[in-house]
Symmetry: C2
Subunit: 377 residues, 2 copies
């Protein structure tokens, strides 16, 4: 009756323990009857729980912008999935499966829209002068080519001082961020999320992680600057609430979820294109090919769909990167696609949680009040 | 404080009436405090509420398969968005924006995996002999070319008799379906959803519609045969519950939504590729270009992500078509992208509702019991 096949507990975790329709429907395990997700986060509940991934951030409070650098300690296999209507990106074509380079050195998420794309210039120079990057050989005087795919969000109209003329701050901020890279970093009004707005609420940087029954880790980081709302209309229940683990973003439960047709709730409704964009990076320690990672990125993108309504609008530049550090190996070759499906499912949940955490932790700009989720009644 | 801009009630409906963060948070309108979505469906709550769209279905109970034809009374502008890892499709490249033909004559959703692709053969012949289809002129003896993009789901292993040898039933079923096309059709175990399984539950054909404040109509139809579950783990709450209108799929509310990390709930977990697939078609009466319709399709795909967990897995062939019959015109050219965003948002909701309705209405095959949502305790 039940079509689920038990594939070994190491691979399919909790799903493998379930029985038929009738018994599953009666919801035996106590943990499941609570209106809360169960699951295990990594020790920090951050993307840096994935071994080999470090994050650094920097911001400029006067400009109301910032940069987040996701550093792969060793080159990592990468994929990208762009679903927004107004993306600002760099080095995304390099990630197409048919292209030469398989691995990246870092991913940058940045404020500043097209100006933010410059953040990768200085990080490339910084890395290149230290001999890091892709190279066809090692001829003297020939610098390697660091591969640093970058996505930017639009924060040009958030009230900060953008009179930078010939010197946008992104080259400076990105090196500051890179040099600050470590395991711990701030959520909320920080890094690429410093100047972000998530619909009508203050947006920010969110991150979360999950450790699977197999011991595999999946982490996510996201800068939430969506046109859509992260809470359901008429309240403050996060769309991501069904995925919340241990009150990590307030623990309100999911009973407040209801959509109300054309009511976008606390969205940032406007006709001006490119003023929004949610940008994200997923990482896992499981070794995947670039093509497998592409499927994982596609599945992970669903986390954005679940946490933000609407997502992927013409005015969003929604872009999602996916990294594999390759520390863990899938031992049974016949199970690779199943593993991809499991990782993709977990990644979608972790991303949805990260979106909520970014807004949950956001604080107001100095001298401003009333824009944050925490201030909502 | 609130960035939403009022853009005229005809265009942005309920969203336009909202105020700032504080007041929206207090949730004034009574309708919003109920844990239920508000919104208006068309008279039938089916995709055929979109003027100019008819649907016909046929099935073979012994084979446990069927076909659904979505007929555009006049050629309709179309787009497609493929996000599953194992699609079975036909005439999808024709829909790329840079290609010649702008309009389609029908969309077919079919069971039968690769065999189901033959369903379009006989529909093309049927239409061609009646002079319907794309043609560069009208030379005597030269039939036109009916454009009939088709997507199939995998129902080959559902226990029906598939010993069809050289005569798969799809050419026959599709003409039967076409000739039955009208405004009313069955949901659940019918048409392309006859042999479908939605995770561990009996799947089926779902359909729903929404009439926007502007008077625009959006409808969806979907055959739900997902690897993922349409209900949250440990219970029978539909993932689509936040979008439900007027108890259209049981009215259980959303408080049972919780994800439980690696527990896929009532999914169809299996390592065999191409045994799943959710295929859908959205329609609207609003005149959009093919490129605008592509964006609407991308946004609509999020409805699948919200209603099914996981979606877009390697083992899914998830494919979504989008049709515009062009009966209503967007009068303000500056508002076109806003309109696309509104339509895409509504389409995602309508698709999520359709997924739940397909499973809600599903009945068992003759002589089988215990596989349906309705039988769950």
């Amino acid at each position: 009756m039940n079509r689920r096949t038990v594939l070994g507990s190491a691979l399919i975790g909790a799903a493998a323990s379930a029985a038929g329709v009738a018994s599953a429907a009666s919801g035996k395990p106590a943990a499941r009857s609570a209106a809360r997700a169960s699951g295990r986060t990594g020790p920090l509940n951050l993307i840096t729980d994935v071994e080999g991934i470090k994050v650094g951030q920097a911001h400029d409070a006067g400009v109301r912008t910032g940069v987040t650098v996701i550093l792969a300690e060793k080159p990592a296999v990468a994929a990208v999935d762009v679903r927004g209507g107004g993306p600002a990106g760099r080095e995304t074509d390099v990630l197409r499966p048919e292209n030469l380079v398989q691995e990246v050195d870092a991913i940058i998420l940045s404020g500043g829209s097209v100006y933010g794309l410059g953040s990768a210039d200085s990080v490339a120079a910084w890395m290149g002068m230290r001999g890091r990057g892709y190279g066809m050989g090692g001829a003297p005087g020939v610098p390697p080519s660091p591969i640093i795919p970058t996505a930017c969000l639009y924060d040009l109209a958030n009230g900060g001082n953008k009179q930078w003329e010939m010197e946008p701050p992104y080259r400076r901020l990105s090196v500051q961020a890179l040099e600050a890279a470590g395991d711990r970093f701030n959520l909320g009004t920080a890094g690429a999320g410093y100047g972000a707005e998530a619909g009508a609420l203050k947006g920010g940087i969110g991150s979360a992680s999950a450790v699977m029954a197999s011991g595999w880790t999946v982490g996510a980081i996201v800068a939430v600057n969506s046109v859509g709302s992260v809470v359901a209309p008429g309240g403050k229940t996060f769309w991501a609430s069904p995925y919340e683990i241990e009150d990590e973003f307030g623990g309100l439960g999911s009973s407040g979820l209801h959509a109300s047709a054309e009511d976008w709730g606390l969205s940032k409704f406007g006709a001006r294109p490119r003023e929004n964009t949610t940008i994200a990076c997923i990482a896992t320690d499981v070794a995947l090919t670039r093509v497998e990672l592409q499927r994982m990125a596609i599945m992970a993108q669903d986390g954005m769909a679940r946490a933000i309504r609407p997502a992927h609008a013409p005015f969003d530049g929604d872009t999602l990167f996916c990294l594999s550090t390759g520390k863990k190996v899938i031992e049974n070759p016949a199970m690779r696609q199943v593993a991809v499906a499991q990782l993709g499912n977990v990644a979608a949940d972790v991303l949805a949680r990260s979106v909520a955490r970014g807004v949950y932790h956001a604080t107001n700009y100095e001298g401003v009040s009333g824009k944050t989720w925490r201030e909502m009644k």
